[in-house]
Subunit: 202 residues, 2 copies
Amino acid sequence: MTDTEKSQRHQKRMKRHKEVVDDKIQHADKDKGLLLVITGNGKGKSSSGFGMVARALGHNMRVGVVQFIKGAYSTGEEAFFRRFPDEVEYHVMGDGFTWDTQNLDQDIASAKKGWEVCKQLIDDPNIDVVLFDELNIVLKMRYLDTDLVLADIAKRAEMKHVIITGRGAPEAVIEAADTVSRIEDVKHAFRAGFRAQKGIEL
Amino acid sequence: MTDTEKSQRHQKRMKRHKEVVDDKIQHADKDKGLLLVITGNGKGKSSSGFGMVARALGHNMRVGVVQFIKGAYSTGEEAFFRRFPDEVEYHVMGDGFTWDTQNLDQDIASAKKGWEVCKQLIDDPNIDVVLFDELNIVLKMRYLDTDLVLADIAKRAEMKHVIITGRGAPEAVIEAADTVSRIEDVKHAFRAGFRAQKGIEL
């Protein structure tokens, strides 16, 4: 095959691809406040949520964040997004709870307190996007009732986006969601002896 | 089982879990500039990369970004991170290339130009983390030679982190990486007729 033939074949294939994509785009024309779920065992769930926070801020939207699990650690994302108190309402719940506290009652109380904060963000008409980081873990542990949580989320304003991260998303959450991504852990530096790196995991 | 028994059982299980996790953490004690790859068909690859950018900024690190594909669109992440020119060196390459230009030579030229910018960021001692957004697509299309790209990345300073996103990561990239996540598309609002939403996909 000559270079010209190769180039023409490429052009033809790309044109067909573009037509397919354009057609799909034309038929996806509705807007809606989405429920997004990022789950699975791989690295990147929380960071994906925080990337969407950055994206939303780029569109001058206001964002609410509730971090359920990482209360015991200081994280880069918290330090960074707390720079913008007028744009991001940032909450860290708990005390690094679940396996660190080893106290079921305290964990449940922390989770319930956390959900009250989430509900305020869901109801706040000035907030466009909410991120409930690691909520799936809390639901999986049954610290909160998944049906009640989903009912509260369903009552949100039409254009409000809700992002839920954390491994082990319950089936009911996946069913209720508009978009679900499952992150597979193909390989992790941790298993090669490298600890969590600032700017990557922390 | 009484509530007390339940609580004790929980405490015991959590204690065991904590011991396992603590043990793993103790044995992962090395530091290194990681090569991270986020691939797969699901939603969240680029946003995960941008979440790590936010995280790095929270640790006062300096970041370089090269976006290979989205040149034709204005995105929230670009608008947001361009707010911090002293902390983020932000480049958008190409012209929304691949299926929109339908010109193989032009696409290859754009890709090569993009990689020159990447190499400068790799070599810049003032940059701690680089994000090459959608580079996998460029490699998959063979617009760049994967072996050459990996050789350039391998030459980086010891503590520099490199994040590569995009579907279709070549096998050689996965092999060279320290951490690889594959995002599975479980469900996408697009297929239910909802277009890309600001702050979520854009």
